[in-house]
Symmetry: C2
Subunit: 157 residues, 2 copies
DNA sequence: ATGAAAATGAAAACCATTATCAATAAAGAT
DNA sequence: ATCTTTATTGATAATGGTTTTCATTTTCAT
């Protein structure tokens, strides 16, 4: 099992350095938290989690670091309709993991899905091409979210 | 030209009454503003517009009425990434006009498009069906936005 | 016209996010 | 290991869109 617990420098350190940023304890901790969850955390969520291990790290730093991470393309920032921004690691050591979301309007649960991406990619590509031509609009990104009721919430009176 | 300037009760009054809400001057004015634009107005935009005719109507009422309208399904509320919510009439007398958006990250312009390309329709149907089955998720709505550069912003410097 | 209930406006409160700024810590040079 | 530069941090205050509060006004069925 190569490298499994080797404790070498985490893969993202090079990313920071590449951008000319310093590697710090708070940054390490924040990316650490994000890399250990599949949830869509708010700044405060992350703050609370980081706080357990480093009580001295402030919420301001969480916000600042998240902005950096978004700028670097390491983190996605989403708005699911509750008032807070939600953050999620954009990629792991294995590469990108672009995906779309199912948002339950009953319990605010967010489901990631990558399953249908493959079939979607083809159609998405064509859609984007068509729009680009029709409106002379250079598409760089897209946001696709489906809203509805999750299994649990469908069975609630 | 049947009914063109007939000045009969606007079509949305019945909607308010149907929900048990009263018809008031501010509500009339707010829907009026929304029905005369194709832009995506913020609460303040609407306030300013209404203010020209009814200087006594306050911003609070704008917010309250917009929330009502969204609840009634008469108005869509969007978040395009600037900090303010944007509102847009969901339908006219002729029915729904569901559409998607192209958002320019250069000038914040938002382009509506309703003439979905075949690929997009297929993409949506296929995706929604697959997702519903796989996750047992009842999809009721979707949000699709493409981000990029509009024609003008592509030709800047 | 009357009166109960709904709706409004002014002001204060909310609250996620940002800006400020003095203190601290990272990293290259010595 | 120490020094030096300067990015980074944390406490605090400020911001700004949106909500709450509550006394006053308006709607509309009677
Ligand atoms: Mn996700
Ligand atoms: Mn629109
Ligand atoms: Zn749910
Ligand atoms: Zn533009």
């Amino acid at each position: 099992m190569p490298g499994r617990k080797a404790k070498g420098a985490p893969w993202w350190q090079g990313r920071f350095r590449g951008y000319g940023y310093r590697m710090t304890v708070p940054r390490e901790a924040i990316v650490g938290v994000l890399s250990e969850t599949s949830k869509h955390l708010s700044a405060e969520d992350i703050f609370l989690e980081v706080h357990k291990v480093y009580p001295s790290i402030g919420l301001t730093t969480i916000y600042r670091t998240l902005e950096l991470l978004v700028q670097m393309g390491l983190v996605f920032k989403f708005d699911f309709g509750d008032k807070r921004a939600r953050y999620e690691l954009a990629e792991g050591p294995k590469g990108k993991r672009h995906h779309h979301h199912l948002v339950c309007i009953g319990c605010d649960t967010v489901i990631d899905y990558t399953d249908f991406i493959d079939e979607e990619i083809e159609l998405l590509g064509q859609t984007e091409k068509g729009l680009s031509k029709k409106f002379n609009f250079k598409i760089t990104n897209h946001l696709i979210q489906f809203y509805g009721l999750c299994k649990r919430c469908q069975n609630k009176k």
